[in-house]
């Protein structure tokens, strides 16, 4: 089903809690989501310096089970799922037949024959149809659990310190990309040491009906509610590509530097991914003027690409942007970005812009 603008926006189990927290709600990927509460800069800073909590319940969850669960995921994704032990999670791609991306996702290995996939909200229906199409021929069961789970992202350097007194597991023993069952503030949850902000933190899977009560208890611990605005500035500073901006069906994903996501194995779209990408994803910084998605990138006065994401970095205090430029132009040190008809100098920098 194609979602049209007339389709009513979906709401997460935390909708009422967002309104109580003073959130400004906006449409996002078919959902009505909080873009900010106190303000993007304050929420961004809270996550960089202490800890914040995001509602990411709009993301989709699919469970993949059965004797062929691993073989199926090996076929439809680019990363090596066989390397995953139970209790470990992995960033991965779902390629289409021509080497573009249907989605990027996280794969959690629950057991030898059981996986949980976490996919982008706007792509839930598309991803589901894509997986259904490839499932025949594999002894595999697929279930869409998107409505079952509330998902909260607790992110920031103080995340472990704030959660530890309220959880029945030694968090210091849990490495990045591990996940485990726990009781948090009295709620049965699954905790994953994952996130998309460039900070340490945990993603908390909780039954949807309990998400609101858990959210309120997390705020009472001193976690700042953080919205989509801060989520975007944080992930951009961390150099993380975002589906719909740096990834798309018709974009070669290896334009990004994430070559490690593609392993040497047979999978859907392998031939397309073997072709050299015509463009490359670069980082740009500017002196003053913020640059936004779609602005032209020039080299020697000639257009060579466009900005895919841009903002003023709250941490660095100057404009940062990711841009896709022609591969033959990507090695230059200085570019220009056209802003409202005027060219502004931009310097190419290595990604990420910020590393904790």
């Amino acid at each position: 089903m194609t979602r049209t603008p007339e389709t009513p926006l979906k709401r997460t189990p935390l909708h009422a809690a967002h309104l109580r927290a003073g959130a400004r709600m906006v449409p996002f990927g078919g959902w009505e989501m909080p873009v900010q509460y106190a303000g993007v800069k304050a929420e961004h800073e809270a996550v960089r310096t202490r800890a914040g909590v995001f509602d990411v319940s709009h993301m989709g969850e699919f469970r993949v089970t059965g004797p062929d669960a691993e073989a199926f995921l090996q076929h439809v994704t680019t990363n090596d799922v066989a390397r995953l032990k139970p209790g470990r999670a992995q960033y991965n791609w779902l390629p289409n037949e021509t080497g573009g991306l249907v989605d990027d996702l996280y794969v959690y290995r629950v057991g030898p024959e059981e996986f949980l996939l976490v996919v982008n909200a706007a792509n839930i229906e598309k991803d589901w149809a894509h997986l259904q199409r490839y499932a025949p021929g594999f002894s595999v069961g697929l279930s869409d659990e998107s409505d079952r789970w509330g998902l909260l992202a607790v992110q920031g350097p103080a995340a472990e310190l704030l959660l530890q007194p309220h959880v029945d597991v030694d968090l210091s023993a849990k490495k990045k990309n591990s996940f485990f069952k726990a009781t948090l503030l009295g709620f049965p949850v699954m905790l994953a040491r994952t996130g998309y902000t460039g900070e340490d933190g945990f993603e908390v899977f909780v039954e949807a009906g309990e998400a609101g009560a858990l959210w309120e208890k997390l705020l009472a611990l001193g976690l700042s509610p953080a919205g989509l605005g801060a989520r975007d500035t944080l992930r951009l500073e961390a150099g993380f590509p975002l589906y719909g901006h740096e990834f798309a069906e018709d974009l070669h994903p290896l334009a990004s530097s994430y070559t490690w996501v593609v392993k040497d194995k047979a999978h859907v779209g392998r031939e397309g991914l073997r072709a050299a990408p015509p463009v490359r994803l670069i980082g740009l910084t500017l002196e003053r003027v913020p640059v936004r998605e779609g602005y032209p990138v020039l080299l020697g006065g000639q257009p060579v690409g466009h900005v895919t994401s841009g903002t003023i970095s709250p941490t660095l205090g100057h404009p940062i942007a990711m841009a896709l430029v022609r591969t033959d132009a990507a090695a230059a040190d200085t570019f220009e970005v056209e802003v409202r008809g005027k060219a502004h100098p931009a310097r190419r920098v290595e990604l990420p812009f910020y590393r904790k």
Partner: protein
């Protein structure tokens, strides 16, 4: 939300003072969120009511600012180059944008009561 009664307001959220000073309303700055950059017009430029004359950028987005009246730009708020957040903290004071020598007001200007009612 403040809506000073001595000002007139455009539906696009600019305010116009009797002396030709222009800024954006408290409601508008709140909707925009943290202002991080302001692009102002050249002094001496002749503008027509409704024309795009400035850009106010928040962390998330760029918003056009329209002239609430026709006239000539006679001053711009140089402080905003270093302190764009003044638009948030003082939308009717230090966060003003530019000053017009007004020749004719735009047709859709509202008084404070009508503007507040429209954006309640």
């Amino acid at each position: 939300m403040q809506t000073p009664t001595e000002l007139k307001y455009a539906s696009s959220h600019e305010w116009l003072a009797p002396d030709g000073t222009v800024g954006i309303s408290d409601f508008a700055q709140d909707q925009l969120g943290d202002v991080v950059y302001v692009e102002l017009p050249e002094v001496g430029r002749v503008v027509t009511a409704g024309e795009t004359v400035a850009v106010v950028e928040s962390v998330k987005t760029a918003s056009d600012i329209y002239a609430p009246a026709s006239g000539t730009i006679v001053a711009v708020n140089e402080q905003l180059a270093q302190n764009p957040e003044l638009v948030n903290s003082s939308p009717y004071g230090d966060g003003w944008l530019f000053r017009l020598d007004v020749t004719e007001e735009g047709g859709d200007l509202m008084d404070a009561e009508a503007y507040a009612a429209a954006n309640g």
